[in-house]
Amino acid sequence: MAMNLSILVLILPFLTFVGLAFFGKRLSGITAGIIGSISTGIISLIAAFIAFNYWVMSDGKSTMILFNFPWLTFNEHLAINMGLLLDSLSIMMVAVVTFVSFMVHLYSIEYLKGEERYGSYFAYLSLFTFSMLGLVLSVNIFQIYVFWELVGVSSFLLIGFYYQRPSAVAAAKKAFIVTRFADLGFLVGILILSFEAKTLDIPMLIERLSSPDTLTSGNIKMHMVGGLSVISIAMFLIFIGGAGKSAMFPLHIWLPDAMEGPTPVSALIHAATMVVAGVYLVARLFPVYFVLTPEVLHIISWVGIISALLAALIACTQTDIKRVLAYSTISQIGYMMFSLGITAYSHGETLGYTASLFHLFTHAFFKALLFLAAGVIIHAVHSNEVAQMGGLRKSLPTTHIAFLLATLAISGIPPLSGFFSKEAILTATHHANPVIFWLAVIGSSLTTFYMFRLYYLIFWNKPAEHHRHHEHALFSIPLIILTLGTLLNGFIPFGQFISVGLEKVQISFELGMAAVPVGGSLLAILLATLWYAKSTSYPDKFVSLLKNFYRWTYRKFYFDELYQFVTHKIIFNLIGRPIAWFDRNIVDGTMNAMAWGSMYFSQAIKRIQSGNVQSYTMYFLGGVIILLSILLYAYGYNLIN
């Protein structure tokens, strides 16, 4: 019964979107923001109620499919259904998405005040909330794809919200095109999978492709291509879609640019919810990956750890506050990805799965908090550059505390939430693959270093300003609530709630295990304090020591330039130009030749039309005589006989 309320979670934001899209312009002041906030407030209450019912009132292990109806029926075996899938994973995601969305809505009421397109902004936010919830509640992998694209569209609209700025327009296009390319892989993967498994329904897909009975009974035939099973290829293609959305290496280039959007949008879409859709996708199909295609999980873990390290390195050199946070998001999602991936190395142990989703859960809170705090700072300083900041600890006290706690959380300092989730990931990794474990520890220290560098550059580094900036209540309240979440979330026994099978997972901590990353983080904090707490010359000296490497990192390892080269020089010149030439000269040329031919022919014969009636009659008579003689010649003997 309570679960039937879940349909409201989708309907309410959709109605809000439609209403605000049509009438948002007529609403005065902050009405649109209040409507949007009330709607998301209600759905976050519903989500909390559903979660309470699911885990506390019942056993928290059942999978429910509600409102399931066939939407497109191809044949008797294959149909695309629309419906709601409620299990531990989707309910956890719904709770996170609605909660962060509610916080961001509250915050946006004040942050966006005075914008010309205030109503449209909240309409887009509602559209995003609707599509994201639709995505996590999808019962069918094709339904996921539909909402996946809707999420992409709303992200595009919100990145390009300041459409007068050319950089925002370019960033919106970049985000859309890069994820589009990845989604192509996703779509092809879905089609192959539907062909191989004869279903698109997620529970049925998982049952057919991962339970040992059906696999050995031979109902699913494994087609092989070049030593790989077709299903592996399909699952890899689906992962490419997820990697694009989650900004994994080498498709990460769109996320830092996406920071052109309003800061609350970055908090909601590009930190807490949409970018973890890729993690959600892999987690959703996890049993298939785990049982059938562990080789894809190997790829996933390496992609994850490379993204995590690369993004952490780049984040150390960036000076735009939102870009640092964006790279840190890529890095943290990398952690979630490789945590899913390393289960393939761990001989049947699935701690990595729970750890990954635990990190997703805690990360959503502290990263949204970091972004919202960054929004307050940007609002006060009117700049994104850290060089314009410094010494803000007295002028923005609430933000200072919130930012510090979130920084400690992302650094994995106990007893904040980030410690628990990152520790779970590292424990799982240590059991599975020592190489990735040590790389992850290095990444974690780097994370601490760049986050504290950012913290010091914003709040210290210069003598404290005593001029107190106004921190609006609508800024402080979400910050405080999210700070509480950051403080307390780690104590949730997450393994009791979310695990692969039916048995619960105990997330255990070993003191020796925890000592290494926490020690690394403490060292990194010490280093950052020495270098950045006051304006010192150490960073410059270090930079001149590693001149070339610093330049490479500062320019983000030239990935943008690489893509620019590949698209403009190679694709445009070698593929685009010949095709354009063919179109212009062969296709258009044929049409033009036909037109020119008819024109010259008519020019040549138009003299005949003299306007002289008698010459027309002459032609007519001549024609009649010719026809008559032909007829007489052909059939004349009939007349004679």
Binding site: K606, R607, S610, G611, N612, Q614, T617
Partner: protein
């Protein structure tokens, strides 16, 4: 019958000749009437000598006369309008409808 056919053929070609050589629209119209009348004579002659018990040829005759009257009225109307526009009914001068 032969004489009648010779007469109608002569009339027909006189009409054709007149149509091609005259420059005056009224004379051209008269030539067309000659052609029509030669056809009429043909109809009557064939009806009388080949199928004397039938009347189709004569009916056709009546139709042709009626249509010719309508055609003449139309043609005269066109000619009058042409005259109003060009102040002439010479076919050489009214050749503006060309390429």
């Amino acid at each position: 019958m032969l004489h009648i056919l010779i007469l109608s053929t002569a009339l027909f070609f006189i009409g054709i000749y007149g149509f091609f050589t005259r420059r005056n629209l009224i004379t051209m119209l008269i030539s067309i009437e000659l052609i029509l009348n030669s056809v009429n004579i043909n109809f009557v002659a064939f009806n009388k000598y080949l199928y004397p018990q039938q009347l189709e040829g004569i009916f056709f005759n009546i139709f042709i006369i009626a249509i010719a009257a309508a055609e003449v009225s139309l043609a005269i109307a066109i000619i009058i309008n042409l005259y109003r526009k060009f102040n002439t009914i010479d076919i050489e001068d009214t050749n503006t409808m060309k390429h």
